[in-house]
Amino acid sequence: MAYGKKVLDHYEHPRNVGSLDKNDAQVGTGMVGAPACGDVMKLQIKVSDEGLIEDAKFKTYGCGSAIASSSLLTEWVRGKTLAEAGEIRNTDIAEELALPPVKIHCSVLAEDAIRAAIEDYEGKQARKADAPDEAQLAEAV
């Protein structure tokens, strides 16, 4: 597969590789894809109290395009609000990386990953609002 410069750059120097604490209430984790399909992306975002994505990390099992798509995504979502991040479309990623048609599904996976991460974070926040917070729990004891 002959790749463009941007894919190769992200593949050779992936940005923001790593993991955040998935149990942290400020962290949203999106894991999409399947090993049997040849690609799995894990994207994590850390959201500040102001609702900004202050950190993003990824790990990806997959081809060069899948690695590049998720690496690019972590760069793009940093500093964005959840709403802004949720607006990133796979076509933006495919265009930026000049992905060949056969690799478009890698960018789709990246879009799925950020949405899953946002959903995970929002779910945690909703549960936190419903549940008594730790201070109340401490008082009850």
């Binding site: 597969m1 790749y3 190769l8 593949y11 992936p14 590789v17 993991s19 894991m31 999409v32 894809g33 399947a34 090993p35 049997a36 399909c37 040849g38 690609d39 799995v40 992306m41 894990k42 790990k59 990806t60 099992y61 997959g62 081809c63 060069g64 899948a66 690695i67 056969v102 599904h105 996976l109």
Partner: protein, 407 residues
């Protein structure tokens, strides 16, 4: 390690370079000062000399597989030989029956030819190999019917390098009067072949897998018992009417010389290549979660097919810019399907996606193998650091228990 020329070629099953000794011989059959004549020209010495060269090459090819020169006809390569053998025999013997037996791990030149025959009304049984790649002979025997006319089983598999027990298969087919076709493109010149001892009726041979030129192959057609074929290419009646078309003398001479060298050097060369292959496997096997695909013992010396779990094959190939290998990963294919050969072995898709095929040959050195091992160790480590699956594995998560959203 300064004496290594990069990139390193470890894809000898895809093709081989022409041996310089072969190229030197071929050059004598092209230019005005050489023997450029048409071997079919009977009226002058240009033709006679070319015909002599073709006859000599036919003898050299026959000798490698224990055949008679009259049992060899020239084709354009392995694909054409497979087509001529299977279609030719199926068409000729169709009054006797219209059932064909082959194996799921055959080369596409065999599988697609069988598909075409299915469209013509033939029935084809595609046998699944065992987990080590080898055919279960009892299963093969059970598949044979009164109307079975052709069985096609490859000698050496191109992806995993395993060697089928052709002699045992030949015994089953010969006693039933069924034609046995063997695609030996990957086996000839690498392991000894005796078509008569193995009771093979038709055998596909290719030049460019054993240091001959591309674009030339041959088909062995057994004389005793006599095997008949219906021609697929019609014209001037060359090759006893079985394959018309002017014989490419330089290609044929190249194939003959390549087969002569292969025969003379087979024992020594296969021992050397096997040692290099074992060195590579011992090096790679030092890493965790590395799996060999296909049987190690019943295997051609130069082949190593390995899955690096939790690393996707295409991304690994990208990291190995300086090593030419091929992958069973979907992402290196246009179809996005992982290797059908590895899937037929029952390997899970993850391991098929994570596989690399290394094939070692005549010009591979020990230094190249050692360099390759170190490059792969670095690349696998780097990609595992990037892999969420590796992370989960390290945390003790059973990946099979995860509900993946298959897309």
């Amino acid at each position: 390690m300064n004496d290594i020329n990069l990139p390193i070629y470890l894809d000898y099953s895809a093709t081989t370079p022409v041996d310089p000794r072969v190229a030197a011989k071929m050059r004598q059959y092209l230019t005005p000062d050489g023997e450029f004549g048409n071997p079919a020209s009977r009226s002058h010495s240009f033709g006679w000399h070319a015909e002599e060269a073709v006859d000599e090459a036919r003898k050299q090819v026959a000798e490698l597989i224990g055949a008679d020169p009259r049992e060899i006809i020239w084709t354009s390569g392995g694909t054409e030989s497979d087509n001529l053998a299977i279609k030719g025999a199926a068409h000729f013997y169709q009054k006797k029956g219209r059932h064909i037996v082959t194996v799921k791990t055959e080369h596409k030149a065999v599988l697609d030819t069988c598909r075409q025959l299915e469209r013509e009304g033939f029935e084809v049984t595609y046998l699944a190999p065992q987990a080590n790649g080898l055919l279960d002979l009892e299963e093969l025997e059970a598949s044979l019917r009164d109307d079975t006319v052709v069985v096609s089983v490859m000698h050496v598999n191109n992806e995993i390098g395993i060697v089928q027990d052709i002699g045992a298969i030949g015994k089953l087919t010969r006693e039933r009067g069924i034609i046995l076709h063997v695609d030996a493109a990957q086996g000839a010149g690498k392991i000894p072949i005796d078509v008569h001892a193995m009771q093979v009726d038709l055998m596909t041979l290719s030049a460019h897998k054993i240091y001959g030129p591309k674009g030339i192959g041959a088909l062995y057609i057994c004389r005793k018992p006599r095997v008949r074929l219906e021609a697929q290419i019609h014209g001037g009646g060359h090759e006893r009417g079985l394959r018309s078309g002017t014989l490419p003398t330089h290609q044929i001479v190249g194939m003959g010389e390549a087969f002569r060298l292969a025969r003379e050097e087979l024992a020594e060369e296969s021992a050397r290549i096997r040692a290099l292959r074992d060195r590579l496997w011992n090096g790679l096997n030092q890493m965790e979660e590395v799996y060999l695909n296909g049987d190690l013992e019943q295997r051609v010396p130069g082949n190593l097919n390995v899955s690096f779990n939790f690393v996707e094959g295409e991304s690994l190939i990208m990291a190995l810019k300086d090593v030419a290998v091929s992958s069973g990963s979907a992402c290196t294919s246009a179809s996005l399907e992982p290797s059908y050969v590895l899937r037929a072995l029952g390997r899970n898709d993850e391991l098929a996606h994570s596989s690399l095929r290394f094939t070692i040959g005549r010009f591979t050195t020990e230094e190249e193998i050692d360099y390759t091992i170190s490059l792969i160790e670095q690349a696998v480590q780097r990609l595992r650091d990037l892999s969420p699956l590796w992370e989960m594995y390290q945390e003790g998560v059973d990946l099979d228990s995860v509900q993946w959203a298959v897309h």
